[in-house]
């Protein structure tokens, strides 16, 4: 395998394992929160958010990208809640209108900025183009997310399961919800380089969704999701070169196929098992 001696591939593989594991782990929260679609909306707001970050600071750095993305995500998220207050428009409707508009604004403004990267790169990422510094950032963000999520696992799970009961026990439910939101934005920013803002949704939902069909154990959802995410991403990088396709889409397709297999063949919750019952 002379692929493995290629530094681009080494870095791509390392990035795939790192980001795949961190996002796969975090996908456990997304699945438990039961609002994967709003994660999709959130990921699309990354683009206008980062554009905004570049506009304000004049340069693209991880920090400006994160702040811009966080700002845009907050605006879109809170905006949809505010619009839905009037009871006339459902929050999902408001969210869809606002995030697509924001996304369109991002697509329109991006070519006018003085950055070297193409639109396609933002949308689908390029894992073979990650540099050493990108790897370190992915590693730092991934470790931070994992560490914090594990330290706060108990209050986070209590909040996700039943916020009222948790609040009555003294869990700072509001803080936990904001916290989860911030970690989610952080994970999205971390995976931007590798798979872009559109495909990152797949990495933040599919792994735990697959595992949730195979287990009833809460912790398995997170660690299993991490394992599925890391293996899927690494396998995607390998496969992409022999298929002659871009790695990002191959990774996400692979994760989709794994989910489909679990959905069909899961011994307890699979389509076949349910049909036989």
């Amino acid at each position: 395998m002379d692929l493995l001696s290629n530094p681009f591939y080494q870095r791509a593989l390392a990035a795939a394992l790192l980001i795949g594991f961190a996002n796969g782990f975090f996908s456990g929260f997304v699945v438990l929160r039961r609002n994967a679609l709003s994660v999709s909306a959130l990921s699309h707001t990354m683009l206008p958010g980062i554009t905004l970050g570049i506009l304000m600071t004049g340069a693209l750095t991880q920090a400006s990208a994160f702040l811009g993305a966080l700002f845009a995500a907050l605006m879109v998220g809170l905006g949809s809640v505010a619009v839905a207050r009037g009871n006339r428009v459902a929050q999902g409707t408001a969210l869809a209108v606002i995030y697509t508009s924001a996304f369109a604004a991002g697509v329109a403004i991006l070519p006018r900025l003085d950055t070297r990267q193409e639109l396609e790169h933002w949308l689908f990422g390029d894992i073979t183009a990650v540099g050493n510094s990108d790897l370190w950032v992915a590693f730092a963000i991934g470790s931070f997310t994992l560490l914090v999520a594990n330290l706060l696992m108990r209050p986070l799970l209590l909040t996700l399961f039943e916020p009222n009961v948790a609040a009555a026990q003294g869990v700072p439910v509001r803080t936990m919800q904001y916290f989860l939101f911030a970690l989610l934005v952080l994970s999205l920013v971390a995976s931007l380089q590798a798979v872009g803002c559109v495909l990152s949704v797949g990495m933040l939902v599919a792994p735990a969704a697959t595992v949730s069909l195979l287990t009833d154990k809460t912790h398995a959802l997170f660690w299993g999701g991490g394992a599925v995410g890391a293996l899927g991403a690494a396998a995607g990088v390998f496969l992409s070169s022999s298929l002659g396709m871009a790695p990002g889409p191959v990774i996400v397709m692979l994760l989709g196929i794994l989910f489909l297999l679990a959905w069909i063949f899961s011994p307890r919750y699979g389509a076949i098992a349910l049909h036989r019952r």
């Binding site: 108990r154 399961f161 609040a167 009555a168 026990q169 003294g170 154990k217």
Partner: protein, 265 residues
């Protein structure tokens, strides 16, 4: 005193009083609860009864600290409850719970230990013991490794009660615990609440079935935003008081079918 007698005992009930005075709650601009005052103590089962929108759930949530109060005070065992108390446990309506959450009965009960373990404290031996005891008290030992969706309605209610026991809660706040249970499960839950109260806990539950309230509860608070009557269940829920609480609504319900009947003639 028997072994399993809870430490918060009926025989020194005067130490374990819950006193609620002129409680008031607003939802944005609407007044949801006003002038709510009553006092009760451990060992009692209190029903909250009233028409839809009377504020039964809101009162439970206000006591549990889930909705902010805009006035009044809550005194538990002589000291004011500022926001929430670890001795209070809130049990939601069954339909509000996500039963497909990947968690076992034991995992659910373990969540009750949060006030003891805190944000990231270790789950210790004594926590496991408390969980074991709660599971045993509520006859859930054989079901402890089941996923919570696989339980019947009555068992699900018991699992949440076990979570409250693991928390060592003295005051149990239940939102419509009997809704959706069949007759046997209802009777079992009624017996269980009686046992928990007898052991010295205070049970407060919203309840919409007027016929069963006097058998299932010792005291009742009849309310419609404001309190209408409070006292022993049978007295508080007298015909006269119920008319005052439900008057207008019964009127409306009586009228609606008449129109249909006329139309079909």
């Amino acid at each position: 005193m028997t072994q399993n007698h809870h430490d918060c005992c009926a025989h020194h009930a005067h130490h374990h009083e819950l006193v609620i005075s002129s409680l008031r709650v607003h939802y944005r601009k609407t007044l949801a609860l006003d002038h709510i005052s009553f006092a009760t103590s451990c060992g009692n089962r209190v029903a909250l009864v009233g028409p839809n929108g009377a504020g039964k759930s809101t009162l439970l949530k206000a006591i549990a600290g889930l909705v902010p109060r805009s006035g009044g005070s809550i005194l538990w065992r002589g000291s004011p409850v500022k926001r929430w108390s670890r001795e209070f446990a809130y049990l939601p309506q069954r339909e509000e719970v996500d039963w497909s959450f990947p968690i076992t009965v034991r995992g659910l009960v373990e969540m009750g230990r949060y006030p003891q373990t805190g944000l990231w404290g270790k789950f210790r031996e004594e926590d496991a013991t408390a969980v074991d005891k709660a599971l045993a008290d509520l006859n859930l030992e054989s079901l402890q490794h089941r996923q919570i969706r696989e339980l019947s309605g009555g068992q699900q209610q018991r699992a949440f009660l076990a979570r409250a026991l693991a928390q060592e809660a003295h005051v149990l706040l239940l939102d419509e615990p009997f809704t959706g249970l069949d007759r046997n499960a209802s009777r079992q839950l009624g017996d269980l609440l009686g046992k928990l109260a007898h052991e010295g806990r205070l049970v407060i539950a919203s309840h919409h079935d007027l016929a069963t309230a006097p058998q299932l509860f010792d005291e009742a608070l009849l309310l419609s935003t404001q309190p209408i009557a409070f006292g022993p269940a049978a007295e508080a829920l007298s015909e006269e008081n119920l008319d005052r609480a439900f008057g207008q609504i019964c009127d409306l319900q009586d009228r609606a079918p008449t129109v249909v009947a006329n139309a079909s003639l």
